[in-house]
């Protein structure tokens, strides 16, 4: 547009176009450095962030669900069923589960979509202490984790499930697992992306081999190692 000349004012410059382009290019390039930068900033911010919890309402978590409604935990009716290729099928009440040896760990939770929550404090039971109640048969080589959120299931091989920091967690950050985090019990396997960490556990079945879980049927890797699967680090 022709601007009427203003005395003492040279031709205006198109800084607006420059700002627009710089913002678009800068923002788009952050696809390649944003996470690294954010992880560094978050390391500095997180001690302060504890005091600013109302301002950072998510604490880094995002809640992903696949069904129309989140499962509701009822202590009176909830059971953890251990079945499949076992010598002794077992059904544990919540209290029975809580009376098993308690384990605690602090580990980092990685989601395949790119977000990470550092230093999550989990408490729960180790896989070994649960499996020994049911005694897997020789032919059992994998575990099928069945969520109360149907039709969510996922699998681990027995070797994967025996990694030292795999846990069936009933507490997170000092409180009983919240509904959105999978109350009353979820699988925690920090070495793998979140979709393997099945929430709202209702049953664990021993099977002869691992099959494809919910997201694996939709193209995600079965062996969801953090940083070494799903297109990352390959």
């Amino acid at each position: 547009m022709e601007q009427p000349p203003v005395t003492g004012n040279p031709e205006p410059r198109r800084y607006g176009r420059g700002l627009f382009l710089a913002t678009v290019v800068g923002g788009a390039s952050s696809l390649f450095w944003g996470k690294a930068a954010w992880d560094r900033v978050a390391g500095v911010v997180s001690p302060v962030a504890a005091d600013l919890a109302p301002i950072l309402p998510t604490k880094g978590w995002r809640i992903y669900t696949v069904a129309g409604r989140m499962p509701v935990f009822d202590p009176a009716t909830w059971r953890l069923a251990l079945g499949g290729l076992v010598e002794q099928p077992v059904s544990l009440t919540y209290d029975q589960l809580r009376s098993l040896p308690r384990a605690e760990q602090v580990s980092t939770f990685h989601c395949v979509t790119g977000w990470t929550v550092k230093d999550v404090h989990w408490a729960g039971v180790r896989m070994h202490d649960v499996l020994s109640l049911a005694r897997p048969q020789q032919s059992a080589h994998a575990l099928r984790f069945v969520s109360m959120e149907q039709p969510y299931v996922d699998y681990l091989t027995l070797d994967q499930a025996r990694l030292a920091d795999v846990m069936l967690a009933y507490e997170m950050d000092g409180k009983p697992l919240a509904r959105e985090h999978g109350a009353p019990l979820r699988l925690v396997i920090p070495e793998m992306y979140g979709y393997k960490n099945v929430k709202w556990l209702g049953a664990i079945e021993l099977v002869s081999q691992a099959e494809s879980g919910y997201w694996e049927q939709r193209g995600y890797d079965s062996n969801a190692w953090v940083g070494r699967s799903n297109g990352y680090g390959t």
Partner: protein, 192 residues
């Protein structure tokens, strides 16, 4: 006197409508407390995506429809003269139809629209295809949301609350502003 044409106002209000619809559905996906309340993530996710697509398509349609007149507005918005730079540094300087702050806001808003669109599409298609999956997409999309909230909060304050500037709302709703207000805030503005 006339400040905003019909097509300029249409573009503004479509953008506002789309922004708040996306903010509402996006927050349900983002905030754990809201996702517990609403629960139907798959439905909200589809809504969010398709509102986003409709929003970008509507904006593109208005840009095409507005043609040369909107192009002239864009030229006006991108041009910064010495007075604008002085104004940005906090000095008193006469302003045109848009003050320098509005010009900065316009450039950022346009850039954010592009970036929201790109990162949103990457999130949607990245769920199915590792080739378009980046670890930082979600950080970009969220970061844009946080910065946009700050910009929108400032914008709403100036448009609705601040006594000296809130008269401008009339320009964006009815199209015109008082000559006396225009002379005070936009001294260099000479309507065609």
């Amino acid at each position: 006197m006339k400040r905003f044409s019909r097509v300029e106002r249409l573009l503004h209000w479509l953008n506002a409508l789309g922004f708040f619809a996306l903010l509402a559905t996006g927050l349900v996906l983002y905030l754990p407390s809201l996702s517990v309340l609403v629960s139907r993530r798959q439905l909200v996710q589809s809504l969010h995506f398709w509102i986003g697509v409709a929003w970008l398509a509507a904006l593109a349609a208005v840009l095409l429809l507005g043609g040369r007149r909107l192009l002239a507005t864009a030229r006006e918005l991108e041009a910064f003269d010495r007075d604008d730079l002085r104004w940005l540094r906090g000095g008193k300087a006469p302003q045109g139809r848009f003050n320098a702050g509005q010009k900065v806001n316009a450039a950022l808003t346009a850039a954010f629209t592009v970036l929201f669109g790109v990162s949103g599409l990457l999130l949607w298609f990245g769920e199915q295809d590792t080739r378009v999956r980046f670890a930082s997409t979600v950080i970009l999309h969220d970061g844009l949301m946080y910065v946009s909230l700050v910009l929108v909060a400032g914008h709403l304050y100036l448009a609705l609350v601040h006594p000296a500037t809130r008269h401008a709302l009339r320009g964006m709703t009815l199209g015109d502003v008082s000559t006396e207000w225009a002379a005070r805030h936009h001294a260099k503005w000479k309507p065609q």
